[in-house]
Symmetry: C2
Subunit: 438 residues, 2 copies
C-alpha cells in the first residue's frame, strides 16, 4: 500500500523536544515513510528536512489532498489497561483501594480470554478515534491482547501485570516470546503490577528475568500516598528504592503514575535513566494526587503520558491527557509559565515511543514507520492558526482527528473504522460481557 499525502502541513522533529512545521508532501511506501518534501523537484535534493533526494515515485494506491491539514506522529499511550473497557462507568467515585478490591477484582476474575479479545478491540477503536497509534498495555492474557492488536493492525507493547494473585515469572517469559514472535506490530517488555501486590520473591524473579532478557522493567509506582507509606512501613524504602535495590533497572524501564515521589526516587530515576509515565486524568478521578511533572522535566528525567485504563479515566483520549499534564503542572507549581506546549507534545508522541522502545515510529522522518495521524485544522477550535502546537495541546480534541494510520495502513478515517470488524458487533459484545456480571 503506497500513499501520497499532498497539500499538507507536516510536524517534524527538531532538537531539544521541539518541533517544526513544514508544508508539502509525505509519501508512504509499504509501511515506511519514504519522502517528506515539497514534492516538486524530481530526483534532486529539495527542502525536505531529511535533506534527502526525492525517491523514485511509487505506484500510488492512494493519493490524498490533505487541504492544509496537519500530519503528525500518532500519540503513544504509554500506560493503559485496554480491556477494562467493560467497566467504564460501572464503578466510579471510589478511592483506588476500594475501587480495586470491591469493584474491579471480583469482576476481572470472571473474564475469559475471549472476553478480553473483544474488549481490547473496543479499546483499540477508541484509541484510533483519538489519534493513538500504539499502546503500552498491562492486562491479563498478553498474547490475547497482542492478537487483538495484530488482527486490527494496531501497534502494541505488552507488559505483564504479574502479582501474588496471578501469573508466574515463567509464564511472563513465555508470553514475552509469544508476543514478540506474533507480529511486527506486537512486542513485550518485562513488568509486574506493583510492590503492594507482589512478594519479594516474585520481584526478585522479575529482576532476574529482566537481566536474562535484557529488558527494562515497568511497574505502577507511587500512585497513591498510602502505597508509598505502606511500602516504607514494610521495607523502610520507597517503591522506587526497593525495586532499585532488587536490581530491576539494569536495562532501564520506569514507573506508571509517579505521583508521590520522594527525594531519593528522583535521584534513582535520573541515575538509571528511567521514565516517569504520568496519568493525570486517572490520578484526579481516583483522588490519587497531582504528579510533580515540573520537577521531572527540570531534572531531565524522561516523561511519557498515558490514559490509564478506561475504568478509572474513563476515556482513552490523549488530547485530554496532554491538556491535563500541562495545566496540572501549572496549578501544582502555581506558575503559569511552567512547561512548554512543545515539551508536552514530545511526551505524548516521541517520549512515549522511546519509553516503549518504539524508536522506529517516534516521529515523522524518512525511514520511520508510518504511524501518523491527520489533524483537521479547519475546525473552529483550531482557528486562528496563531500557533498550531499550542492549538493541539491546549485546544485540540478527538474531533480534530480525521485519519489514523498505523504501519502504513489507514485504520480510521472520517469516523469510519477499517479494522476488519463491525463496530456494532463490538459494542454488542462489550455490553453482553458486563451484562453477564451484573
Amino acid at each position: 500500500m503506497n500513499t501520497r499525502f499532498y497539500n499538507a502541513k507536516i510536524l517534524v522533529p527538531l532538537d531539544n523536544h521541539k518541533y517544526d512545521i513544514v508544508t508539502g508532501e509525505l509519501w508512504v511506501k509499504g509501511d515506511t515513510i519514504c519522502y517528506i518534501g515539497d514534492g516538486k523537484t524530481d530526483g534532486a535534493a529539495d527542502a525536505a528536512p531529511s535533506g534527502m533526494s526525492r525517491p523514485e515515485v511509487p505506484v500510488w494506491d492512494r493519493e490524498t489532498d490533505v487541504e492544509g491539514g496537519l500530519l503528525m506522529p500518532g500519540f503513544k499511550n504509554a500506560h493503559t489497561h485496554t480491556a477494562m473497557t467493560f467497566l467504564r462507568s460501572y464503578a466510579d467515585d471510589l478511592p483506588l483501594q476500594d475501587w480495586l478490591n470491591r469493584q474491579v477484582f471480583p469482576r476481572e476474575g470472571q473474564l475469559t480470554e475471549d472476553d478480553v479479545y473483544w474488549l481490547n478491540i473496543l479499546g483499540i477503536m477508541e484509541y484510533l478515534t483519538s489519534g493513538i497509534t500504539s499502546n503500552f498495555d498491562m492486562y491479563f492474557f498478553p498474547p490475547v491482547n497482542a492478537r487483538a492488536s495484530a488482527d486490527t493492525g494496531f501497534r502494541t507493547v505488552q507488559t505483564s501485570g504479574l502479582n501474588n494473585y496471578g501469573g508466574t515469572v515463567e509464564l511472563m517469559e513465555e508470553n514475552y516470546h509469544i508476543v514478540r514472535e506474533l507480529s511486527d506490530l506486537t512486542t513485550f517488555l518485562v513488568g509486574f503490577h506493583a510492590e503492594y501486590t507482589t512478594s519479594r520473591e516474585l520481584m526478585e524473579g522479575v529482576a532476574d528475568l529482566a537481566r536474562k532478557l535484557k529488558s527494562p522493567v515497568w511497574v505502577h509506582n507511587a500512585e497513591t500516598k498510602l502505597e508509598v507509606e505502606e511500602c516504607k512501613g514494610r521495607w523502610g524504602m520507597t517503591p522506587t528504592q526497593l525495586t532499585d535495590s532488587l536490581g530491576m533497572y539494569e536495562y532501564g524501564g520506569g514507573g506508571y503514575h509517579c505521583v508521590w515521589f520522594e527525594e531519593p526516587d528522583f535521584e534513582i530515576f535520573r541515575k538509571r535513566h528511567l521514565t516517569a509515565v504520568t496519568n493525570p486524568a486517572s490520578n484526579l478521578k481516583l483522588a490519587s494526587g497531582i504528579c510533580p511533572t515540573k520537577r521531572f522535566v527540570d531534572e531531565g528525567i524522561a516523561m511519557a503520558i498515558g490514559t490509564d485504563g478506561p475504568a478509572s479515566n474513563n476515556c482513552l483520549d490523549m488530547f485530554r491527557e496532554m491538556f491535563l499534564t500541562s495545566t496540572l503542572a501549572k496549578v501544582r507549581e502555581m506558575d503559569a509559565e511552567c512547561i512548554s506546549a512543545d515539551e508536552i507534545l514530545y511526551m505524548a508522541t516521541t517520549g512515549g515511543a522511546h519509553a516503549m522502545q518504539l524508536q522506529d515510529c517516534d516521529s515523522l522522518a524518512v525511514g520511520k514507520k508510518a504511524d501518523l495521524i491527520l489533524i483537521d485544522l479547519k475546525q473552529p477550535n483550531m482557528q486562528p492558526e496563531n500557533n498550531i502546537i499550542k492549538n493541539l495541546v491546549y485546544s485540540g480534541s478527538k474531533q480534530n482527528v480525521k485519519l489514523t494510520m498505523v504501519n502504513g495502513k489507514v485504520l480510521y478515517e472520517n469516523n469510519h473504522f477499517e479494522i476488519g470488524f463491525d463496530p456494532e458487533e463490538i459494542y454488542r459484545r462489550a455490553n453482553e460481557i458486563i451484562g453477564r456480571m451484573k
Copy 2:
C-alpha cells in the same frame, strides 16, 4: 419548522438535580418542545414524563431516526468572553495579571466592532460543535455580540465588562435595552469586570442600575489569591463582602471563578442566593487555583460551569469543563467519592440556565424551548452503556455531538454548520484580524 425525533433516548429531569433517561419520541413545533413520549398512542395520555396527552400531529418538516442516540438539553456556557477567539494560542503560559496587561489589553484596544462581530461567529461555531446552545458573555460591544448571536440563531445572555478603562453605567443601561429588544434569542443582565479594575463610584452606579432594572449582578470574583489580598488591603473586605456591602445583590446574581473564597463569602452567597460559576480549565492554565466546588455543593449554593474565554482556556468545550469540575473537586478534597456525575451534568445544563435566567430552556420537557443536542452513543468512548450519565461526564467528547438545535432550529449537524456563514470565510477573517496586530 416542525421536527420529529424518534427511536431516541431522552434525558429528562427528576428532582434533586438528578435525571432519568426515557426512550421514545421528542417533537418540536416551531421553537418549542410539544411532546415527549412513546409516540404510539393517539390522543390518549401515554408514558410521557409530562403525563400529557399526545398533541395533534403537526405537519413535519423533518423526521429524524435518532437510532438510539441521546437527546439532552444543550450545555449552557455560564461564563465566557467569546470574541477572544483571535487570541487563542497567541499569548500563553503567563500568570493572569501579566497575561492581561502585557498581551491581552493592548491588542483588545485595536479591535473594531466589525472584528468583534466576526470573532463572535467563530466562537459560536465552536460552541455548536461542543453542544453548547447558549453563552453568558462578557465582552466589548454587547449589542454587536448579540447581533452575531441573533444572526446565527444562537441564544446569548450578554453582560457588561464595565471598568475604569471602558464603559459607563449609562452605556450599560442603553445596551441592556438594545440587547433585550434585538431578538428572542438575546438578553442582558447587569455586570461589571471586577473589583480590581473598577472604582467604588462605578460599582455604586452598577448597584443603583441593578436595583432600577431589577437585575442580578455578575462579576469576576476571587479568581486569584492576589485579587482577594489586594481587595482586602484596599477595603478590609473580600470582593464578595465589598460588592455585597454596596447593595449589589438585591436581585441575585453571582461570581465568575470563585476560587479563593473565604468563610464570609460562602455565607453571603448562601444568604443572597447567588451562583458560583466555575471555570476549571482556565483556572488551571493560568495557575489561578482550584475552586472549592464540594463546599459550594455541600452548602447548597447554586453552581454553573463556564469555559472562560478561548484565550485563557484555550477551547470552548463543556465536556472538558465537566470532567474537570468533577475530578478537580475529587483531588482537591482527596476524596474520590465527592460529587455525583448527575450533579455535574446539572451544573452544565439546568444550573447554568438558571444562573442565566433562561428558565424556558433549562431542560427537555413539554413547553420548553427546543435547545437540545443529539449525542451519538454508538462511538467507542460511550460503550458499553453501563451508565449513560457517567459516560457523558467522565468519557464524553465533542466528537459525540451529532446535532445541535437552538430554539427549534438545527444549527450544526454531522460536522456541518447551518448558520448562514461559510466557515472558511470566518476562519479567513479571524486570521486576518490577529494578523493585523502582529
